[in-house]
Symmetry: C2
Subunit: 213 residues, 2 copies
DNA sequence: GTCTATATGTGGATAGAC
DNA sequence: GTCTATCCACATATAGAC
């Protein structure tokens, strides 16, 4: 099984036991049988999931190891410390945000439309990473804060190019921030915007608003 | 701000020693000599400050006690557990949010103006409480999440009354949420909106926008 | 590369003196 | 009401076998 691209790190795809006690197990989220990801990636996924779905405190080495289907020692072979684990998710995020900005620039309905629609709560890998990093940022990790600040700056840049007026761009940015805040902090049912209709309406509203700014 | 009403809890304003080793010490933040607050309130202040200025992890019983100028044992006399400590800040918040909603309704320039202007980063007692509670919410405290959700619901109600259009109201809500998200997560210098001019412009923009909605 | 101990530190909470 | 001393749980990290 060719473990595919992008993933740096180890080799030996040989044995790889199925991982017993773990809940979520190893493979991706849904879809096809998919290629079994490396233990290293499973660990990062587990860490991200625990951060995003539970809390920073819940993401202990024990819990991460269990969810990834490895032992604590096994985990620490790949990531020598919790810091290293955080660095791992930040590294993956760096790639994701690059992709997102490219997609935003290339979006058929324009960056504003793209930005707003992808700010609505989903269960995408990207959103999970952002929420996870927001948790690290709340836990006073300066690298996580910088990563969020940098991402925000870059989104803002693209928005600014798209709408012209800097104030309108910043306002749209704040709306997106607000949506993430809702996702990250509130009980799921309480988001200010929920369904597709809401977001359609919002996009229409902003478009009108940005147009005559 | 006259400390005055709303505060339930103990009596005995009598002795209250000056608290030695503590850093920030006991009295309020600035202004007049002020009445020496009870140890109980100093503890809550310390807890809130550590949550808001640092992180949930930093707000240990040891750290809270030190900042409040009491021993750990002394702290635990007033709040038997960390849960109780959290409940304490949530209780105080309940009073603050009531006041804020009343002020919002009575604001001379209207609720929208009030809401947006008070969502900008300041160092008010109210904001500190919100950020502290946001930290607790991120740490998966369900009561904190509910408190935020409830506050949001009530703000939204007032906004809705003021602007008519529910979608516009929700959009304004999201902008306010975005500002808090910025305050709570990002390095201070990175807020999307910073100075008075920014907020003046934003208010003008939203007003135009809400007007012809 | 992965596992099972084990060492070490620290946070929350109790007991009981003053 | 406040303090000191102590207990216990648990999280990070190390050591070394397989």
């Amino acid at each position: 099984m060719p473990s595919a691209p992008a993933s740096p790190s180890p080799a030996s795809p040989g044995a790889a036991s199925p991982a017993p006690g773990a809940s979520g197990g190893g493979v991706a989220s849904a879809g096809a049988p998919a290629v079994p990801v490396s233990a290293r990636d499973r660990v990062l996924d587990a860490f991200e999931e625990l951060l995003a779905e539970q809390s920073e405190r819940a993401a202990t080495l024990d819990a991460v190891a269990a969810r990834a289907g490895v032992s604590k020692g096994g985990l620490l072979y790949h990531f020598a410390s919790k810091e290293a684990l955080a660095a791992g998710v930040l590294d993956r995020f760096a790639a994701l945000i690059d992709d997102d900005l490219a997609a935003m620039r290339a979006a058929p309905d324009g960056p504003v439309d793209y930005f707003l629609r992808t700010s609505i709560p989903t269960d995408s890998r990207f959103e999970r990473a952002i929420v996870a990093i927001a948790r690290l940022a709340q836990a006073a990790d300066p690298r996580a804060r910088d990563a969020l600040a940098s991402a925000q700056r870059r989104w803002l840049e693209v928005l600014q190019e798209a709408v012209g007026d800097p104030l309108v761009a910043r306002t749209i940015m704040l709306i997106g921030d607000g949506m993430y805040y809702n996702t990250a902090l509130l009980p799921a049912a309480n988001n200010v915007l929920r369904d597709e209709t809401d977001i359609d309406d919002l996009v229409a509203l902003i478009r009108r608003f940005a147009g005559d700014a």
